[in-house]
Symmetry: C2
Subunit: 395 residues, 2 copies
């Protein structure tokens, strides 16, 4: 992300509020100079953190016109007595400082569940945070929101349209509790395009479906998952109706890039696995098969061990709960056919072993016939490190 790529009209700031033990920034602020169209998707978990409930309510109450996002890492502000109060008081105080309506500030939190979050830690830092706002600190925000992630994650696009250029930039964090059916963990995407809110919302839902909803690290969905898009129109460029699909494509690509970065940086992950399914009864059936393969611990450990165990791929697909004839299945691993008509296809074991030592793994699952359903899903290998990290997270 070069500063030049950043969308116009947004400012960023970070601070260390002392929420996490380690002394690195744990509080971040994103502000739009002008009220922006805001769209968001949230976790589908029955247990929802206080900031999720408030952000959802605020998007609705503000009619999707928001000005700021306040994020903290180190504490999920979930399943705590004071959760709602903390989310409310911090966003309200920030709104006052920014001269926004309280409902125009969207909160988001990530970290441990069930531990009270001391609102003073955040309240004490809000003035500093606002004073520190600047055009270029988006990478700092990307770092401040990390928990067990190793790498900050960002993606940006410039889209040249008939009326001018618009920019899209996003940051995200993930690592554990990554699972489909939801905007995964935290993601914030800014654009200076002028896009009506209702349209922005529809685009976000479609784009999330083929990006954040198509990744999995461990099959768990967090209580705090939040994906927000802000479109402030600061470029002065409104994509004309025919160009909206071009803009949407770039938004989708941005989300897919962010989603893949989450998987690549999955807890303990060494390999990014892409699972492509073709020839299913429908796209939904293809997605179900791809999801079953991507979620199988047996497949994920086999890839960790560079083991071309296509039997596990076939077997996990058989658990997807959708119809297909196993005898029509062809499986390609790293561009080498390992299964044809549901049976072993001969391949060079040594060559394959080497190919599977790559950090990018491709599994293509093709069902012969005239059906056209297809889907792509991304996951990571399951390593001893995943277990190590998660057995020792809280204590």
């Amino acid at each position: 992300m070069r500063p030049l790529d950043l969308p116009l009209g947004f400012k960023y700031s970070t601070a260390y509020a002392g929420i996490r033990k380690e002394a690195k920034d744990d509080l971040a602020l994103i502000v739009s100079g002008v009220p922006a169209a805001a769209a968001a998707v949230f976790t589908t978990n029955k247990v929802q953190a206080a900031p999720v409930k408030l952000a959802r309510a605020n998007v609705r109450a503000s009619k999707g016109v928001c000005g700021a996002v306040l994020v903290n890492a180190g504490n999920a502000n979930c399943a705590t007595k004071s959760g709602d109060k903390v989310a409310l008081s911090t966003t309200k105080t920030l709104a006052k400082l920014l001269k926004l309506q309280p409902t125009q500030v969207l909160p988001a939190s990530t970290g441990v569940i069930g531990v009270e979050l001391d609102e003073k830690l955040i309240l004490n830092k809000l003035e500093d945070l606002v004073a520190g706002l600047n055009d270029t600190a988006l990478p700092d925000v990307a770092r401040a929101i990390l928990t067990t992630d190793l790498q900050p994650k960002g993606a940006s696009r410039e889209v040249t349209l008939r009326r001018g250029t618009v920019r899209i930039a996003g940051i995200t964090k993930g690592s554990g509790m990554i699972h489909p059916r939801m905007a995964t963990t935290l993601g914030f995407v800014m654009t200076d395009a002028l896009v009506p809110q209702t349209l922005l919302r529809r685009m976000l839902v479609r784009a999330a479906e083929v990006s954040y909803n198509r990744i999995s690290v461990d099959g768990d969905t967090s209580t705090n998952d939040t994906l927000i898009v802000l479109a402030n129109g600061a470029s002065g460029v409104r994509p004309d109706p025919k160009e909206m699909s071009i803009f949407e494509e770039s938004l989708t690509e941005t989300l897919q890039s962010l989603a893949r970065q989450i998987v690549r940086d999955g807890e303990g992950a060494r390999k990014l696995i892409s699972v492509e399914v073709h020839g299913a009864l429908s796209d939904a059936a293809a997605a179900a098969i791809a999801r079953a393969i991507a979620n199988s611990p047996l497949v994920k450990t086999a890839i960790a061990g560079s083991d071309p165990n296509w039997g596990r791929i076939l077997s996990s697909a058989g658990n997807a709960g959708v119809n297909f004839d196993p005898e029509t299945v062809e499986i390609t691993l790293q561009d080498v056919k390992v299964c044809r008509n549901g049976l072993a296809a001969p391949f060079d074991e040594n060559d394959m072993k080497q190919r599977l030592d790559d950090t990018d793994i491709s599994i293509v699952f093709r069902i012969a016939g005239k059906n056209k359903g297809s889907a792509t899903f991304w996951t990571c290998d399951l390593t001893e490190d995943y277990v190590h990290i998660n057995a020792n997270y809280r204590t």
Copy 2:
């Protein structure tokens, strides 16, 4: 299992056929001296191994009157060109030796998928196997069917009824690919009670639902899962209609004991985790919540690390796709309340850590209110060893 506990009228035999590399028995035979009522449940995976297809067909074709079970370990006989032929030729040849109808022999296989199984290895050993049949070798059968399991698994019951005593004995193997919704991996249960086949089948389905269908090691369901019950009536005792429930209870207990042993011996497992849910809208809803908790890698790794991370338990329950109010939830870990009304309950961290170092872990998830749905699910902790075993299984 003392020989005295064994059901009358069954004989057992094992041999090393050279299917697995390691020179330990990989072929096992269970024979009833008189044709037995047979009931079986099989994997729900779309991809079904040849022995699963043939065993299902044979139970049907023989009208549930069978005389022998032929099991091999080391090769699943699944997704191979010759699979059906191997299953058919080996059971047919065995039937001839035992003077049974071909459909009265039920095959079962476990091991690697997608590698041709050489029928000669089995055919060459059938005469030896039949010659070696004896009353007491059930523990040898329990050992011969193991793959990555560490311990042979068996359970037995004596049931005293008005007309006399009947015996139930079962063996099982599991380890990886353990998941609910199915008779998991292989299980063979013998009884000398006289039970009509249709009744036996109904009992098996109900008993499997609260035993084999309530366990999970890694969420994967195998292509070969098979659970067979044989009731040969050799005791001469037919439970009278009022006593059938007593017999069914013992059958259920036997299956639950076997199922729990599978979990305790799960790949890499050090702890058996029991997840009890109470107060759900229905038993099915309770089972869905229990399953979601038991399948969560985050919960399973926390338990591996003796970390009382109740937030992960609450969060995984929220992913079960069933309705409950998080604010009415109470979570008890090792008899200590750690969450009340969806919030942290104070507990002694050091004491809890010690309690979680136990090899038997109890999680009780209780929803306050008047609903009565309850269910129990068993799983194991997720350790580095699980990953290590599965990254290196095939190669």
